[in-house]
């Protein structure tokens, strides 16, 4: 039964992706002199080109690296959101948690002097603790005094951003640099590259480890059971004796820890320093990934790779064709919209059923025009 639903789902997603790409191509046709070439960049750009013209050569490994580097970010953020979604909570706080994670990682990177074996883990743990605590705040507020988590996480994002920028401009910035940012992290605090000439770092293993860890947490620990049951039916969880308030708070805190880890990855793996605008709005992309993956950890891995591919392809298209950035973003948004709409389809059916039930009520009432 699992198998058939898996395959039929794959076919459905395939169909939706094709339709979405078709619409994307249509838009490209309107704006580009060479729509086919431009769209090919989107579709194949992130793949390395193998050429035999001049002996065996692999070109464009940096593009491939960009794809993987982007996907690592998206997978970690997707996992962060998947956890809260599993507990049927909502969180828009990944952005703020990510910034504070980066901040914590940056402080440890700049002010601790240790060998690489200690320095990197220490910075990563610091980032996760910062994210955990920043996620715990809205969690506790929601669980114990019923503060809406959408509002609280958004507000905490603002606080985190201002705190980050304050510390960066007042204390951490490198006064000799021409822009607001820290000096480069020492090599002991930079994630080592594992594929030469790319930005693929050991964070790849970190992301894979996180996928397995979250899968293990959800399916092989009592806390995971509690998160799943709280998400399936809160009242049932209470009735069964689960401490639902604590589970809600912890699920949001764990989400924060993963977002914090993402922040550390951006700082220590990609930028190698802290800058004023770390990566605006990236926190929200985790929601897209979690939605695509139906909150399943291994699904997040696949969805993260897919979405990362799309984003990288879009950047390449923007750089190497006459399609402008805005149009590229529209195409990307259309594709994601269609795919998430497919995710929303069951909800839509439910809505239609409710609506037809409502119509029955109206029917019973008679209706003048009948």
């Amino acid at each position: 039964m699992m198998r058939t639903s898996f395959w039929s789902e794959l076919v459905r997603i395939g169909a939706v992706v094709s339709v979405a790409l078709g619409i994307g191509f249509l838009i490209t046709c309107f704006v580009s002199e060479e729509p086919v070439a431009a769209f090919r960049e989107l579709l194949t750009g992130p793949f390395p080109k193998i050429s035999f013209a001049d002996g065996f050569q692999v070109k464009g490994m940096n593009r491939f690296g960009d794809w993987i580097a982007e996907s690592i970010t998206l997978v970690l953020l997707g996992l962060a959101i998947a956890i809260v979604f599993r507990a049927r909570q909502f969180s828009l706080g990944a952005d703020g948690q990510l910034l504070l994670g980066a901040l914590a990682a940056g402080i440890v990177s700049l002010f601790v002097d240790a060998s690489i074996w200690i320095h990197i883990p220490l910075a990563l743990v610091a980032a996760m603790i910062a994210g955990f605590l920043w996620g715990l705040i809205p969690g506790l507020l929601k669980a114990y005094i019923g503060v809406d988590e959408i509002v609280s996480t958004l507000m905490l994002n603002v606080i985190a951003l201002q705190l980050y920028q304050l510390l960066l401009t007042q204390w951490l910035r490198d006064p000799t640099a021409g822009f607001v940012g820290t000096e480069n992290f020492p090599v002991t605090a930079v994630l080592p590259v594992i594929v030469p000439k790319t930005r693929i770092t050991i964070a790849l293993f970190l992301a894979l480890l996180a996928v397995v860890a979250i899968w293990f947490l959800l399916t092989r620990t009592p806390l995971g059971y509690e998160i799943r049951i709280v998400g399936a039916n809160l009242r049932f969880a209470e009735y069964g004796g689960i401490n639902t308030k604590w589970v809600i708070a912890v699920s949001m805190a764990l989400s924060g820890a993963l977002a914090g880890l993402t922040g550390a990855y951006l700082a220590m793996g990609l930028l190698k320093k802290l800058t004023l605008n770390l990566s605006p709005g990236i926190g929200f992309e985790g929601i897209v990934v979690a939605l695509l993956a139906r909150n399943r950890p291994f699904g997040v891995l696949i969805a993260g790779l897919f979405y990362g591919y799309l984003r990288t392809g879009a950047q390449i298209m923007e750089r190497s064709s006459d399609v402008t950035r805005e149009v590229v973003m529209v195409i990307q948004a259309v594709i994601i919209l269609l795919i998430t709409a497919e995710r929303l389809f069951p909800l839509f059916q439910e809505w239609r059923k409710r609506r037809s039930d409502a119509l029955i009520v109206t029917d019973l009432a008679g209706g003048e025009g009948a």
């Binding site: 039964m1 399916t219 092989r220 620990t221 009592p222 995971g224 059971y225 799943r228 049951i229 399936a232 039916n233 009242r235 049932f236 969880a237 209470e238 009735y239 069964g240 004796g241 689960i242 401490n243 029955i360 009520v361 109206t362 029917d363 019973l364 009432a365 008679g366 209706g367 003048e368 009948a370």
Partner: protein, 515 residues
């Protein structure tokens, strides 16, 4: 001459379920016809087809021997067919008159505004014509349940219904209200109306109907004159085997007071006192039934006892140990099981699989969790065993709970609560909406608990159930215990009838001192 004749009706849903298979159904003008069957037997599908809510896959419908296509409820109403649904479809904040005329309001002159006075006049004259007593100017939310039902009936009459389909109309009524309803139905028939009466309760079939059609598994098992058959005959047709309507209870072996409820009070979040000074002992080896019109504190009593709500005052002791301050897990650890009233809200998680539903009270203990690690394999082993032991009909332990029928969902709950081996079992509405087969099973399990020397607190709106299972019956009215009766057969209490209990349930009588 038959008023309605449905011939060879087959309904296959897109998911392949054949809800009706070559069903023949006919009603004579002016009769009260009972339609009975277990949940899922296809009776509501058949009635939805008659009311135009569903289209048959094949088959014909004849009205006065003319073939008709009923393609919508509007059309059904035009043809004189009206339906009173089990869940009332009324606007609570509107007056009864407004509800009766809703959608076909009388308009005053040129202004085309709703003529409120005319609406009241229409309602009152309809009510007088059919002796359906309602207060036309009161809002629906302030009206008692029995009156709301009369409003529903008036609504269909106002739309010109000659045939009324009543879908389980007595499910929410007290014995007195049920008697009133039956009187009203008989008067409707006297005035030339025809009534289809859908029900679960066989005693009502005998009392009200002239003929009965029995359905099972989407087919008609028989159509008989009610006078010619016994309740047992009808039950056998419904279930396909002999059913023991009377629970076989061995004489009671009553032990010491296992649970003591002392001066329990509970004030709701809105400041309403829902429980007042409730004092009850539940003895080992007894079923203590709580009777009462719904909304008189029974729900709150179950929730406070099971730790879902915190008592405002008073104490609860289980084997001498106070559990009044404990949370749900603490109460369970003290040996209290709870079959919750609202199955879908509290008792199960529809999206989670059956196995996860079966271990919600024990997943954190060995053998399910060892050294902080949860074992899905052990959970499945437990689930497989419980599914077999309690005869839960499911595709597998990993299918979502929402795929089960109501009766099987209830079996999942009963399996979980009984396998925890509770000393005190709180069973709230344990057979509501559950088919006869599963109801019989659940009732048997409750009696089994009692026979094993456990205590059972049974809260049920079904008086027949309370009277057939309980060793003692307490009556709740406005959050208080107003009477406690012995109900043991050998103790003998012939005076205790449903009518007598009804007087206490409605607050018309109360015992001065509780025994």
């Amino acid at each position: 001459m038959s008023l309605i004749e449905m011939r060879n009706i087959t309904k296959v849903y897109p998911n392949g379920v054949a809800a009706n298979q070559t069903v023949d159904f006919s009603i004579d003008r002016g009769e009260i016809h009972a339609l009975v069957g277990e949940n899922g037997a296809g009776k509501s599908t058949l009635m939805k087809i008659l009311y135009g809510l569903e289209q048959p896959t094949s088959g014909e419908i004849y009205l006065d021997e003319k073939a008709v296509q009923i393609d919508s409820p509007h059309h059904a109403i035009d043809l004189g067919i009206g339906m009173v649904h089990q869940n009332f479809m009324l606007v609570p904040s509107f007056t009864i008159a407004q509800n009766v005329v809703l959608g076909r309001e009388p308009r005053s002159g040129m202004s085309r505004f709703v003529d409120t006075q005319e609406a009241i006049r229409i309602t009152e004259s309809l009510a007088a014509n059919y002796s359906l007593d309602v207060d036309a100017t009161a809002t629906v939310e302030s009206a008692p349940v029995g009156m709301r039902q009369r409003v529903e009936i008036l609504k269909t009459l106002y739309r010109g219904a000659d045939l009324l389909i009543l879908d389980e109309p007595t499910a929410v009524l007290t014995p007195q209200e049920t008697d009133d309803l039956f009187d009203a139905v008989r008067r409707l028939v006297d005035q030339g109306k025809t009534v289809i009466f859908i029900t679960h309760k066989l005693i009502e079939v005998k009392e009200i109907s002239q003929r009965v059609t029995v359905m099972r598994h989407g087919k008609v098992m028989g159509r008989v004159r009610t006078a010619d058959v016994s309740e047992e005959d009808i039950a056998r047709m419904m279930v396909g085997r002999d059913v023991f309507l009377q629970i076989d209870k061995p004489p009671q072996q009553r032990g010491p007071a296992l649970a003591q409820i002392q001066n329990l009070g509970y004030v709701s979040e809105t400041g309403q006192p829902m429980l007042r000074n409730v004092t009850l002992d539940v003895y080992a080896g007894e079923v203590l039934g709580i009777a009462g019109v719904e909304g008189n504190g029974q729900t709150e009593l179950a929730e406070v006892l099971s730790g879902l709500k915190q008592a405002t005052t008073g104490n609860i002791l289980v084997e001498g140990q106070s559990i009044v301050a404990a949370d749900a897990r603490g109460v369970r650890r003290a040996g209290v099981g709870h079959i919750p009233e609202d199955r879908l809200t509290n008792g199960v998680a529809l999206e989670a699989d059956i196995a996860d539903n079966l271990v919600v009270d024990r997943y954190y203990r060995p053998p399910f969790t060892n050294g902080g690690r949860l074992s899905p394999r052990r959970i499945r082993t437990e689930a497989t065993a419980l599914i077999a032991e309690f005869d839960i009909r499911a595709a597998g332990d990993d299918s979502p709970l929402g795929s089960l029928s109501g009766g099987n969902m209830q079996k999942v709950i009963v399996a979980r609560e009984l396998s925890a081996d509770p000393k005190l079992l709180i069973a709230a509405q344990p057979t509501r909406g559950v088919d006869i087969g599963a109801s019989e099973f659940v009732r048997g399990q409750l009696v089994q608990q009692r026979n094993e020397g456990k205590a059972v607190l049974l809260i049920s709106a079904d008086l027949a159930e309370v009277m057939s299972l309980s060793d003692r019956i307490a009556v709740m009215y406005k959050g208080e215990i107003v009477a406690i009766f012995s109900n043991s057969r050998e103790g003998g209490n012939p005076a205790l009838t449903e009518q007598e209990l009804g007087l206490y349930m409605l607050g018309l009588k109360r015992q001065e001192t509780l025994p």
